[in-house]
Symmetry: C2
């Protein structure tokens, strides 16, 4: 679908803005194309068409396809990390994990392409973000495990293995983005409505919070 969209990009005179504006345009297009075609299946030409720019212009802002891809993945990782803060400052699992589920479901709805790119990157062995996994993600994970352990010690939830609980949170919430197409197909071909998203989020919260004995 080479839909050459966004033709109406406004060129505010400001010289500095142009760079930022075009990079945004390219990154958005790239995220979508990488998500739908994978890194290998994506072509610079397709991304260029979708961004409404000539291909050579992409290479002006992003020297190589890898550079562009790296930026897309990093963007996602940052969004993903922001949701992590939902976990903090919570009195117990009901608030903390509940808020985290809500935040991650929201990301799945608002950034489905990003989620898919991230998933594909990990599935391919994380060639680009291995270091993030080993540093930022590992640290974050250890921190949350400690929090969950504390909640368990305080009797606020059942003695569940915190690691597998985290995996379940990631898996369940991201599934609504990564497997969105399958879910739509099983939903008579229609995207989930506001109401259905709310129901999905509630179902996930219900099952998990009850499952860990926090309700």
């Amino acid at each position: 679908m080479p839909e050459s969209a966004h033709v109406s990009r406004i060129r505010s005179g400001r010289r500095t803005d142009i760079r930022q504006q075009n990079e945004r345009l390219i990154l958005d297009a790239a995220e979508k194309v990488f998500a739908e075609a994978g890194f290998g299946g994506a072509t610079m030409q397709l991304i260029a068409d979708m961004a409404g720019l000539p291909k050579a212009n992409l290479h002006y802002y992003f020297p190589t396809k890898e550079d562009l891809y790296r930026r897309v993945v990093q963007n996602i990782f940052e969004i993903w990390l922001d949701a992590a803060s939902s976990f903090d400052g919570a009195a117990g699992p009901v608030e903390g994990i509940g808020a985290y589920i809500e935040a991650k479901m929201d990301i799945s709805r608002r950034h489905p392409h990003g989620s898919k790119v991230w998933a594909a990157e990990v599935m391919h062995g994380a060639p680009v973000i291995q270091d993030y996994l080993e540093t930022t993600l590992r640290d974050w994970t250890e921190g949350r495990i400690a929090v969950i352990r504390r909640w368990i010690d305080e009797g606020k939830m059942a003695p569940i293995d915190p690691r597998h609980l985290l995996y379940m949170l990631w898996a369940t919430t991201q599934h609504y983005a990564d497997f969105g197409h399958q879910i739509e197909t099983l939903n008579a071909g229609a995207a989930l409505s506001d109401r259905q998203w709310r129901e999905a989020t509630e179902s996930v919260k219900q099952i998990i919070l009850r499952g860990i004995g926090a309700l």
Copy 2:
């Protein structure tokens, strides 16, 4: 990693076997390469090297890359459907869903490549298996939803939305295959041991079965 493995394939004289044998060899290699590189990133040459056959030979058995890919995806879908039978003939959710989780976790461990290929296929909009989603999968899903509804009516579990329960089952179990690399990284870089797989399976069963009020 062009490791030209499986050099020691035995040529049992039987003429008919050769086809089956080589197709198996090629399909196994293809599954791995497609999983690790994606459809676009996979090359017939890489698959050929991994299968220990000349590239032209692949095209003798599978005319095009798409044909080969289609076969790989279909193989996975069949394995995936087999696990579905765990659901049947169960007296209640503890047996039915418990067995289903065990079966799917087992598949995630034994067929991680296949699971990834399936995930990528769905993420890309299911260009190859859309019809399966709309027929076989939809039918299977409706059937299980009916079963779950019955269990709810019989008071064997809480009134959970069956659809979202199924999504959670798929998401959670397949996560251990699709995001296996991430899980390994968070496991000090080591693959999960037998014991850890058992703990993972038990954790998932615990949380979900308790979460739906079946315990």
